[in-house]
């Protein structure tokens, strides 16, 4: 594996290897010296064309814990605001000797183009409304560590599926790992045939209350107002009433079920504060697990002969 661009790049064996490696990387967080020498002398560039808190910091922490050198690039305050293209920026990074480029871009497919222009590894940290594979991996890791397995789980992915790269990568990866996914949301926010187009066996429902009693995992998606140029639902209050996860809805879940959210949350919109702060919620764990999973990905892409 040279690049990580899509959840579909991973077969079950590779995905499991990443999750197992992440489990070992997680032990580093509890040690006296939270650093491993595996990527000494390697350079990782964080190329972010979109705002991000947790993903950029998570990749930066992961690279630093593996002793790689990290260069952070954000489009604001760079030559991009002078009109430099993605390709020219990529060639500049290449000339500086980047071994890996972690890229987030508002255009779907930008990381795929980038992978043809640079020699190093390209890791997709979110492209438009397309994919976010490391988020899917950290979600899978969180499910496995909380519930002990992934195969056979019923995962409800709820909300703005249309604009969600997290949902797309999760559907692909979870299908590979043997979980059953139901996409839930208002018909305006679920593309027709998206389930079957991504992974056969994926189901679609417009009724959250009907799905909850059989769900092992509920993954709430953020309502992405910045990507909405139309009105997809009448009002925020109506959305919250039909598709928001509040206390009474949470109690319809089986006892072992967990609630996930990729962050950042709109408290009171798709998730009630009572749910976000409940013991079922894995939201903070997901952030912690993100560092371990990204360490595993960086190590497996850059740690050997390249």
């Amino acid at each position: 594996m040279k690049h990580l661009l899509s959840g579909a790049d991973l077969d079950a064996a590779t995905a499991t290897l990443i999750l197992d490696t992440a489990a070992e990387m997680a032990n580093v967080a509890g040690r006296e010296v939270k650093k491993l020498p595996a990527l000494r002398g390697r350079t990782v560039v964080n190329l972010f064309y979109e705002d991000s808190t947790r993903t950029r910091i998570s990749f930066e922490a992961a690279a630093k814990r593996l002793s790689a050198d990290v260069i952070n690039f954000s489009a604001k305050g760079s030559s991009v605001s002078k009109g430099e293209s993605l390709k020219d920026t990529a060639l500049t990074l290449q000339a500086m000797g980047a071994d890996a480029v972690v890229v987030r871009h508002p255009a779907s497919g930008a990381p795929h183009r980038l992978a043809n222009w640079v020699d190093g590894s390209v890791i997709n940290a979110g492209d438009g409304i397309h994919e976010h594979p490391t988020q899917a991996l950290l979600d899978a890791y969180t499910m496995r560590s909380r519930l002990g397995r992934i195969a056979g789980l019923h995962v409800a992915v709820v909300g703005d599926v249309l604009h969600s790269r997290v949902a797309r990568s999760n559907v692909l990866l979870l299908a590979t790992l043997g979980a059953k996914v139901t996409l839930v949301g208002p018909p305006t926010l679920i593309p027709v045939d998206i389930g079957t187009a991504l992974a056969p066996g994926t189901e679609v429902s417009y009724d959250l209350d009907a799905v909850l009693p059989t769900a092992d995992v509920v993954m709430m998606l953020r309502v992405q107002r910045e990507r909405m140029d139309d009105s997809y639902f009448p009002s925020a209050r109506e959305y919250a009433r039909r598709y928001g996860l509040d206390g009474p809805r949470m109690r319809r879940l089986p006892d072992h079920a967990i609630v996930m959210h990729p962050g950042p949350m709109n408290r009171g919109m798709e998730i009630a504060p009572e749910v976000a702060d409940s013991p079922r919620s894995t939201i903070v764990e997901q952030v912690t697990n993100g560092v371990s999973v990204r360490m595993a990905v960086l190590y497996l892409l850059l740690g050997g002969l390249t």
């Binding site: 032990n27 006296e32 595996a38 190590y299 050997g304």
Partner: protein, 195 residues
């Protein structure tokens, strides 16, 4: 016109395999090392055994079991994976990381005995010392190996040796253990590059 005959490719002889240690000899050797550890550490007080995967891990567990059988002392046992500390990571395809298990109580202020099957170049032990450094600060570190086959590339020696086996660089020493391979044996394999 007769062309000189091309040299016939020499048939590669099957690698000759010699059993150096049988199961019974190996068991006696583990017993002896366990006694030596008890003697040299005054009863294995504050001692932690850390096995280096793959075969150091079951060896460390066996040593702890023998120490327990001889003196009733339960020495903590752990596993120290050194993959991420290797100096040849970039010369090979990426290696899978194995588990590291530090026994409860940690290694700070303890006497740590590293356990491995074969001592060869010494590079594994160097990596283990680096890994140990990131885990804590032992009061001292010792090394126990089943076989010392020579050809050191670093200034490293073992404190406890099951058997010194003089070897040629072209030979390899293969330790098999019941836990990992199904049976206990040490073999010397000639004419094959050391992996």
């Amino acid at each position: 016109m007769a062309y000189p005959q091309a040299a016939q490719p020499q048939p590669v002889p099957p690698p000759s395999v010699k059993v150096i240690l049988t199961s019974a000899e190996l068991a006696r050797m583990v017993d002896r090392i366990a006694h030596q550890i008890l003697e040299k550490t005054q009863g294995a007080a504050d001692t932690v055994l850390l096995g280096i995967p793959t075969r150091g891990a079951p060896l460390a567990r066996r040593l702890a079991a023998r120490i327990s059988a001889f003196e009733g002392i339960e020495a903590p046992v752990g596993v120290l994976d050194i993959t991420l500390y290797r100096d040849d990571l970039r010369r090979h395809a990426v290696r899978a990381v194995g588990p590291t298990e530090v026994p409860r109580g940690g290694i700070d202020g303890k006497r740590v005995i590293l356990v491995d099957d074969v001592l060869f170049s010494g590079r594994t032990v160097r990596a283990a010392l680096d890994a140990l450094n990131d885990l804590g600060r032992p009061s001292s570190v010792q090394l126990a190996v089943l076989v010392d086959r020579g050809h050191r590339e670093l200034p490293i020696r073992a404190d406890y040796v099951g058997k010194n086996i003089p070897t040629a660089l072209s030979e390899s020493v293969k330790v098999t253990l019941a836990e990992t391979d199904g049976s206990d044996e040490v073999r010397l394999i000639a004419g094959r590059a050391q992996s």
